[in-house]
Symmetry: C2
Subunit: 221 residues, 2 copies
């Protein structure tokens, strides 16, 4: 599954590269493109599933096989989870902070395995215009929180922290993930509003600077 595709492999060695899977990917993309274009042209609420199907050449039943719901054609294609290398680096930590590292880790999942940056940008343009989709997209950040809490706990353990030393370590991990999720909601929205002109490092850096300022200024009780 992690096989580099720099060179075509014999068919038997790559169960993922069949005519079927290629056609599926093309169909999925065609539906998404149609949905997004129609949305930008008419507004999300005016687009019907039938319109999308007509424009992409599939039946409505097939549409729902692919996306489950009308909204599914518009929201992130998969649950944002990090790659192995990024996760390993986060858990190993080093000089980077947990909060900053987690922010970077999750932000990295939003640069999607989307075949087209143009489509990614078009999708997000529509999302910014559509409160309902914006809310759903933000909710997606929350769907994987438990998984990230697990990663943070691994990081804590790697850093030598234990529940014996800090009984509410799990709550700390949860709060950390919640804070980062909150910060990401702001950061990603700003990123989209700036038409994705910032690179990821700058995203992380400016968010961290704001958080540092805010919490540094705080009069803690």
């Amino acid at each position: 599954m992690g096989i580099a595709a720099a060179e075509p492999l014999p068919r038997g060695l790559s169960p993922q590269d069949t005519l079927r899977s290629r056609k599926q990917a093309a169909t999925r993309l065609a539906i998404r493109r149609a949905a997004i274009e129609l949305g930008l042209a008419h507004g999300y609420d005016s687009v019907t599933v039938d319109m999308i199907c007509n424009a992409s050449g599939v039946s409505a039943r097939t549409f729902f096989n692919y996306f489950g719901s009308k909204e599914g054609a518009y929201t992130s294609p998969r649950k944002p989870l990090p790659g192995d290398a990024a996760l390993t680096a986060f858990i190993a930590g080093g000089s980077s902070g947990v909060l900053t590292g987690l922010f970077d880790l999750i932000a990295g999942t939003f640069v999607e395995a989307e075949s087209s940056l143009e489509l990614f940008q078009a999708r997000h343009r529509l999302i910014q215009q559509t409160p309902e989709l914006l809310g759903r997209e933000k909710e997606r950040i929350s769907e994987t929180e438990e998984i990230f809490v697990g990663y943070v706990m691994e990081r804590f353990h790697h850093d030598g922290r234990t529940v014996r030393d800090t009984p509410d370590l799990a709550d700390e991990a949860r709060m950390l993930v919640a804070l980062v999720s909150g910060a990401l909601r702001f950061a990603l929205q700003k990123w989209a509003a700036g038409n994705f002109s910032d690179d990821r490092a700058h995203l992380v850096e400016s968010a961290s600077a704001l958080i540092k300022r805010i919490t540094g200024n705080e009069h803690w009780p």
Copy 2:
């Protein structure tokens, strides 16, 4: 509208206390009760609007007049906004921090003008069991973010801060609201999981302590 109702007023002085408004309140409550009881008995997905209408004795058209959607019978009854006194206190600030004060301000809006604590708890029990409702409830925190950004800007101005001194003051306010929203998502879920046993002051205090610890431990870039 802020008239204390400790004593019944003559009918003419209280346009809000008519037979109509009382019947509406009763109908709204009956629908909500029916919805929540059915949801706890059968699961949210198995409850139909017809079932709720049969149990509460209204027509489906009336249901949608009241709630707009099936989900609306389950989510928070109104956009959580603070009362005038709480808002004035937040903007005046004093010794409390902005982040902590904002957390407290928003947390206060979640003790709803619900006629029944028991119904509040039942609703939240169902929400915890229903990922879709949980996601929606969490996102409700975001619906009023712009308003809270405005309050934070007022607080900043009260504290003598200006855009001239801090050009990205608005971004700071936004990030602050986003962080607090994130923290609230965790804190409210924990509160509900503990069956609402903590009082608000403890909620604020434990959340603040965690945030302080996390950000104090952080290796900022």
